[in-house]
Amino acid sequence: MARRHSGRVGSRLAASAHERSGTRRGVLAAVVAAAALVLSACGGSGSGSGSSASGDITLGISVPLSGAVGSSCAPMNKAMLAWFDHVNAQGGINGHKIKVDNRDDGYDAARAVTNTKAFIAEKVAAVTGQCGSLQPPAQLPLLNAAKIPFMYVFGASTTLLKPLSPMYFNLMPTYGSQLVAEIPWVFQQHGPGTVALMSTVTPDSPTTAKQVEAAVKQAGGTFVGDYTAPPGTADFSPQVLKMKQKHPDYVVLDQIPQDAARLTQAMTDNGFAPNKFLVGSSAVSQQTFLAGVSAALQPKLLVASDTIAPASAEGTDCVTVLNAAKIKVEGVTLRGCGTAQVVESVLKAAKQPVSSQSVVAAMESMAQVKASEIYPPVSFSATNHVGVSDLYVFGVKNGAFYQAGSIGG
């Protein structure tokens, strides 16, 4: 009987053997694939490993190189990259080069998220160099989940700092904090007085208005009004005419630079100036803002900044590097170079091999470190993720900012 069925049995046996061998191959392939996945996952501690096989330290930068703020942010980015190139030319960080994945997000949150996902997939050590306030709130949850530090955004937002986010580190205090620190200093130097606040309507502006009002009262001044306008307002004459009626000693600016410049133009057109000073934050510490302010109003400007004035930066390594790279030396490029210097300092202090964890640990143990020629000493801790607390105060002479004083330090 077995012989009679031998052909069919044989073919079934052969088929079965073939199937078993195919099944074994499939299982083997699955095991190999699983092993590959496990091994690649073990490459980092479940988050940014930071160092590639060659030992390069990988950083991700998503920044507006085009779009509404591209003209302000692109120079900052160029300056950062120039400093990193300089560091690599000097041998890198403890012998390891800095490799930057530099991407344009066009001031668009969705594009910034796409870029951030790519950085996470690449397991960068940190994401830095962002410029703007629209994108960071979209990027941060991803970076928090991936445990990759988000370093030194230009464009501080209160919502990212309160509550404290484990992966978010900023150099610049919020614009509200800057104004709150600046007002008592201005009163000390020039006497208390009446204060009007002009704000661009943003999510932070109501909070800032309350902070400024409290600071004015605490410093012995009188708060006479908060005037607001949406971004891109075409005609500031109504706000200026209302302020003019109050004859304020000080007008505090909490505006985006273009609106602030248009406001000052409307002030000139309507024959109005504060009795003493126009007081601003680092938002208006750029030359592009100053160029839009009339010559009559420029001497009345006092602007806080977390970076030194371009006039004070002569002789620094940043200026040397920027000149060599044929990048114009101005506030925004000095900020880019200075930020890159702080990043370099952190990477040098981080335990080797550099990883996201070692970068965070290095930052949180920084206390009054002079990490950059451009910034004041920087301090971070587990409960404080804003590095700069001292500020410079700029006045204006001959159409350019100069350092009129400093706050703190």
């Binding site: 307002t233 075409a234 005609d235 004459s237």
Partner: protein
């Protein structure tokens, strides 16, 4: 009371600029049958050309003069290359104006935009005089004079010149006008040449107040559209009345109720006008025989 009067005077000045942009919108609509959304950015781009000439050392008035010639040529190019109706109807042409609007903004960013916004010097004198406690700026008074000259000139052209009558004929009955020998494309070319020059004029008046940057005209364009609707899309003089209404109303709303309501108030006035007088305050109903 002093504040209200000052705001009204400021609103009139702002409204005249809105009215001028609305004037070009209505002029092109009357003569070519298409409302051109790109006129604001045409003016912006032309103003950048003047700025570049001035920045390179040319005096402001010579730069403006050369800019005017370039604007006339630019207007012709815009019509001939981008907007001349090759077919596709009015909707197609309207979409092309939107594309041109976006393209000009992008080109301005690429060629001129690195350090924008720029401070642009005023072609008009500063200062002013106080009347009853209200500041009347010389620049605003001169703007009123410019507007009167423009309106008078164009109204006279439409009423008393052959070219003007041909403009009206093409706008109202393009096919009939062509059959009667009116060269519609030549007239449209002339219209865009004039529009190019007027757009530059607006840019030169606006840039000192708004700063020169690629989105300079955007806030004004919405108000200009509202002004054109309020004045009537068939009335050239009505655009300035519409502009003044929008300018004064939005400034008063901004002063007494908050600047957040500025755009909403302009659109509300537009909707109210459409509800009460669908052809605008000075527009006439377009009657078509079936």
């Amino acid at each position: 009371m002093g504040l209200a009067l000052s705001v009204i005077v400021s609103g009139i000045a702002f409204g005249l600029l809105i009215g001028m942009l609305a004037f070009i919108l209505v002029f092109l609509y009357k003569t070519t049958g298409v409302a051109n959304f790109a006129v604001g950015n045409i003016g912006m781009f032309e103003t950048f050309i003047v700025y570049e000439l001035w920045k390179d050392g040319m005096g402001l008035w010579p730069a403006a003069g050369i800019g005017l010639v370039c604007s006339a040529v630019f207007g012709v190019l815009v019509y001939q290359v981008v907007l001349r109706p090759f077919g596709g109807g009015q909707a197609n042409t309207l979409v092309r104006t939107v594309a041109l609007f976006l393209l000009l903004a992008a080109m301005a960013d690429v060629f001129f935009g690195r350090d924008q916004p720029y401070h642009f010097p005023s072609v008009l004198p500063g200062g002013g005089t106080k009347v009853g406690g209200v500041l009347l700026r010389w620049s605003d008074l001169i703007t009123v004079g410019i507007v009167l000259v423009i309106v008078t000139g164009f109204v006279a052209m439409f009423r008393y010149t052959r070219t003007g009558l041909q403009f009206l004929a093409v706008a109202q009955r393009p096919e009939t006008a062509r059959l009667l020998g009116v060269r519609a494309q030549r007239l449209s070319t002339i219209a865009y040449m004039l529009a190019g020059c007027l757009a530059l004029l607006i840019g030169l008046l606006l840039a000192p107040k708004q700063l020169l940057f690629s989105q300079m005209m955007n806030p004004i364009l919405l108000f200009a559209f509202a002004a054109a609707v309020v004045g009537g899309f068939t009335s050239l003089a009505g655009t300035f009345v519409g502009g003044i209404i929008i300018g004064v109303a939005t400034d008063l709303v901004s002063t007494y109720w908050g600047s957040d309501l500025t755009l909403a108030s302009a659109l509300a006035i537009m909707l109210l006008t459409l509800a009460v007088r669908p052809n605008g305050l000075f527009g006439t109903a377009q009657v078509r025989r079936l």
